[in-house]
Amino acid sequence: MIETIRFRLNGKPTTLRIEGDRKLLWVLRTDLGLTGTKFGCGENLCGACTVIVDREPVRSCQLPVNEVRGKEVITIEGLEKDGKLHPLQEKFAEHGALQCGFCTPGMIMNAYGLLLKNPKPTRDQIISAMDDNLCRCGCHKRIIRAIEGASAQM
């Protein structure tokens, strides 16, 4: 059923006329052209599609778009402000916390969600918050360091 859905996307009011049960991931990637959010598994198992909805990290491959009605959605494209990288983005680059880069947007958004709730996480808290985000290139060690670095800076 076509519905009108209003929400804020990366700080901007957004209105969609759309089938409400379509998944946010594909709406972002196709209708809205925001391809930074990635498809990796489609079943809540990899975290490549992680975005923030009302300050919570969410798997957008599982989320019907009508559930973001009235909410605040942030994607990887929304982190950079006026050409200035978010500390997480900066630290990921600085620590080389990426190789192929395909998991990176999901990693950063999931870490962003963690730091919103817990700005000074311990290493164990980082590991448990990040554990369901998969990285096949094996950047885990550097990702942890990058998150710690960003947390220290924020």
Partner: protein
Amino acid sequence: MKQRQYKVMDQHRPGNTLSLGRRDFIKLVGGGIVVLFHAGDTAFLEAQGRGGYPTDFNAYLRIGEDGRVTVYTGKVELGQDVVTSLAQMAADELDVSLESIDMVMGDTDLCPYDMGTFGSMSIRFFGPALRSAAAEARATLVQLAAARLSTPADRLSVEDGVVFAASDKSRRVTYGQLAKGRKITRTLEGKAATKPVSRFAVMGKPAKRRDARLKVTGRAQYAGDIRLPGMLYARILRPPAHGATAKQIDTSGAEKIPGVTVVREEDLVAVLHTDPEAAEKALETIKTEFDLPKAAVDEETVFDYLVKAAPPAQETERKGDLAQGEKTAADVFEARYVNGYGAHATIETHTAAAKVEGGRVTVWTSTQTPFPNRQEVAQALGFAPENVHIITPFVGGGFGGKSSSGRQAVEAARLAKAVGKPVQVCWSRAEEFFYDTFRPAAVVTIKSGIDSAARICLWDYRVYFAGSRSAEQFYDVANNLIRVYGQWRGETTKAHPFGVGPWRAPGANINVFARESQIDIMAAKAKADPLEFRLNNTSDKRMRSVLQAVADRFGWKKAPAPSGRGYGIACAIDAGTYVAQIAEASVDKSSGSAKIKRIVCAQEMGIVINPEGAQMQIEGCITMGLGYTLAEDVRFKGGQILTKNFDDYDVPRFSWLPEIETILVKNDELTPQGGGEPAIVPVGAAVANAIFDATGARLFRMPMTPERVRQSIRSI
């Protein structure tokens, strides 16, 4: 060095048939100074069975009129960061900053033919040629500057792309000014010397990834991020098993859905829509009946099956006499080691977008092998290869999984041609597991022996379906025979019920798991410390130095295994690089679950171009290695792949992560060796040996799942 002169290229010589003609190149690259070069050890590549490599040139670099340097190569960036390390080489030899180098990679219209990116070869084989080409470009520029500044070339210096008189810095000219209005093309003659290590300014220094900013902002484009006007997303009907044949396919349901386009060709049935989810729903309406072949094997029976199905042996090494070795032996050991099928499981699934326009097709695809893909697409569409343009955007991981076939590129191109609109094909995770070319299941049997002085005197090694990579003997064994029954590629792979192919360091992981486990078994029987046993049995200097380095850093204290401490050591040679690792494990004896607490790795890889990149690769290898070692096992029944997603294929996670320490052992005497694979190779054996040291239980099968570890502990 051979004395050879620059040779201005003969513009009328026909270009090689597999790439653009030379004249097209000259037109394409425009003005400036161009050096054409050939990279790669042709003999090595031919030996790998990948002929057709042009002997002429397969890469070039250009100094543009703006002074920027562009390197054109068919290699691709998969995450291994060659985009940085190759640029470092060019920058250093040219005396320009790293920032002034642009890399154009994996584009079949812009780059000359290259077979692909695999086998830790980019730096090893491509690097030296690139450096020579950059050195020649610099020499050419200095000669031009000599004329311009009326100063002999040997009195000129170069800094950051500016040539100046050593005596008077104000007499200067930039590379850009020198290239302006010129059209000079050279083929690499190897006349200009490359820099000795002592003069490295950019190479050998850690360099940050050059693609990081694009990747942390989500702006890096992968094949699935290509958006073309009017593009349709395709979902393709797949058989339930390899070898299944369709009896009936009814697409009438899908045809009735508004907006859905159905394509039915003999072997390609697809539904397309502007919304990928709508295409997915349409796919679900297709009714099918398939005939399934009888499943001959599963993950338990496959090893015996493979040994029976094996082709005749190829001897790769023979020394002394096995019978003599057995006579000398005080103890003889026989064991069989096995490993199931492994998936590449890159987070990016195989994806391609294609458009057909004016008799040409352009395909953006996630691949390690753009040029072979061009051939496949050309053949499938009946186009001439020059009318196929393959563009490789960023690739979301490869590990060998995106080098075997261009299936998704062919699918996208065929569908785009069929519907007359751009089409994107993005495989689901289940399709990815179904069409992955797995690391083949493999078997190694070893009969070995030690004499009364704990010296290895017998080594009778047989490997089935994994080839001999990293099986080469570096222990001093008087009676040594290595036999290979089938490779991980080529004809013999037909024995497998589905596709197999290269997987990061193909074949090496099982070979090293087997050898280094066997070495530990012998050391334990001799009540010898595992490190000391190895050192006593090899005189290979490079191996001794990495063993010593890793032991020093780890703080290795001598003790025969099992010592209860959970320390395991393993070493290997791979892609010209020497590597030794020590793992520390703790094992929960009741559940069998092994936690790897620490892995120290010493690697000697000749000259290190980018220490930062090298370390990143080592860490990646170790982390990924824990997957094949502890958990990853594809489940299947004949041609049916039961593993469909990550809930049934456990790849390493944050919570698995050990402390990882890396040491790069210096060896500036040797040209750079492989870096993307070697450190994954010893992980299985280091962990198996650590589990043995912790528990006294010896594991002969990977992955060493908790269940298998528990059983092994019980059977002590």
